[in-house]
């Protein structure tokens, strides 16, 4: 290929003289796929997306969920999404920024949703994840607990669970933990 290398060198010299534009890094395949996901989003009225860094940084965005039924009716929950350049080979990193009393979300905002970890597949997309998160609020389950106490209460005493959720959302203590108002 040495001959070709030399041809290339000549051309680069010519290009440099003819005010050529130097190549700029192309978007990563992950960014492009994410752009597709985002442009095809079809969200229910209960979910909103925003881009804190403006229209050209889609890799970091936020989703707010306002459940319209179930235990969490009336609350507002904010999630941050961080998408890797090798998306969708890797799932996005999702955290819940609103402190919530929930069996499947811990107090640090870690979320136990199978498609965010062990069951992620590249055919899934951002829409699927947002629906999955929405689903966590309409149907919290005590079988995949991250907040052990909340899961136990949901399993053994749903009335008490409902009371605790309302109390946390209104702003107040559940046990030793203080929750800020999110309704």
């Amino acid at each position: 290929m040495i001959k070709l290398f030399k041809v290339k060198e000549k051309q680069r010299e010519i290009a440099a003289n003819a005010n050529g534009v130097p190549p700029v890094k192309k978007q990563s395949a992950g960014e492009l796929r994410l752009q597709k996901d985002i442009s095809e989003l079809n969200l229910p009225k209960t979910c909103n997306i925003s881009f804190p860094n403006g229209k050209d940084d889609l890799m970091n965005f936020e989703v707010t969920i306002h459940p319209d039924e179930g235990y969490y009716l009336g609350g507002t929950f904010l999630f941050s999404f961080q998408v890797s350049p090798v998306y969708p080979h890797e799932p996005p990193k999702v955290k819940c920024k609103t402190k919530v009393y929930h069996p499947n979300i811990d107090l640090e905002g870690n979320v136990c949703l199978n498609i965010l970890r062990e069951d992620w597949k590249p055919v899934l997309n951002i829409n699927t994840i947002i629906y999955g998160l929405f689903h966590l609020f309409t149907q919290p389950n005590h079988e995949d607990p991250l907040n052990h106490d909340a899961a136990a209460v949901l399993r053994d005493n749903p009335k008490m669970f409902e009371f605790n959720v309302r109390r946390a959302m209104a702003g107040g203590y559940v046990g030793q933990t203080y929750f800020t108002r999110c309704m």
Partner: protein, 449 residues
Amino acid sequence: MAGSVVQSSRSRDLDKLLLRPGNLIGANFEPGSQLRDDLQQYVKVLVIGAGGLGCELLKDLALSGFRNLEVIDMDRIEVTNLNRQFLFRLEDVGKPKAEVAAKRVMERVSGVNILPHFCRIEDKEIEFYNDFHIIALGLDSIEARSYINSVACSFLEYDSDDNPLEETIKPMVDGGTEGFKGHARVILPGVTPCFECTIWLFPPQVKFPLCTLAETPRTAAHCIEYAHLIKWDEVHSGKSFDPDDSEHMKWVYSEALKRAELFGIPGVTYSLTQGVVKNIIPAIASTNAIISAACALETLKIVSGCSKTLSNYLTYNGAEGLHTKVTEFVKDKDCLVCGPGVLIELDSSITLQKFIDLLEDHPKLLLSKASVTHRGKNLYMQAPPVLEEMTRSNLGVPLFDLMGKVLKDVVHVTGVASKNDKKTSCLRKLRVAFKGVDGVTDMDTASGA
């Protein structure tokens, strides 16, 4: 005089390859002393990574007659590297790998010049990579491979018949090892599949369910991931975990140990903690040596044409007996990174709205509801409403202006494609070329921007 005797004996075997004609040669092979001189004096090779594979690659390339080498690596030497990264000594611990590796090979192989770069691959300008005739990759991360691949493919240009322009191809040779297994592959962007065409070859990292970690740990790895993913955040609110900070790693190890004791799980060690957190599989020196040898040989063959090259993916497995196999993968013709995309010629006065309308009638696209992005800038987004609103004002602006008045460049579009009455959502690469720009002749556009 002694020096010249050493020289001639050192290149004796190489001379047999480079100076004599043969039957199994590659295309355009021109044996002779000019070829040997070019290999030594003209050709520049970049080695990415100075770890287990990188050390081997530098040594192998230096002994294969290449004399202009550069190496880039962001890591410093750790004690645990010394068993296989044979260029490093105990007193080197803490020093940059690239610098020590370059120095050691130069000390041992006279005449070779290796320039080290102690930095991240993203820190270099794109043009830096264009200076090398070939790039050899000795990396352990899929992100880094994907990045270098996108850089190398960004130099690639196609002619109007969608054939790659040979002189714009930046060849890469990629090696990878995991324990007893390894691969070596040749990537000629536009000719053989690029890294992104076959990204599915890399198995996704194993991820345990968070609730298993939190509630029902069963293995040492579960305890380590609990400390790393859950306990760290609980204790260090806001401070992010740094896998390269040994204090952080020790903290995770001690927390993992506590948890393992609580659940009666054996097997948590410091090195396992590092392995799980950094997703490291124990490296084996001989696997690195075999894969590197294959990569160095392919580099020599591609550059000199002295033999046909690997086509195009070699796997090696030394776990049960020994098995090697070469598979010829095919490229994805619609690959967003290495594919040609659809060529579209436009008048420079065409607005973005008009361009979007044109895509709907374009016979190769039939793409409706297009969203358009150019070099990381979203020119127009159909959804969600918040982005549509932010980009709507671009619709009336000429595309030429939105693209920074370059004569030709790549844009990506997503939308709904209609084929035989079936509608599918798709993402396409387009090569846009402008005509009718004042003061620019066709000659200039043909030479390429």
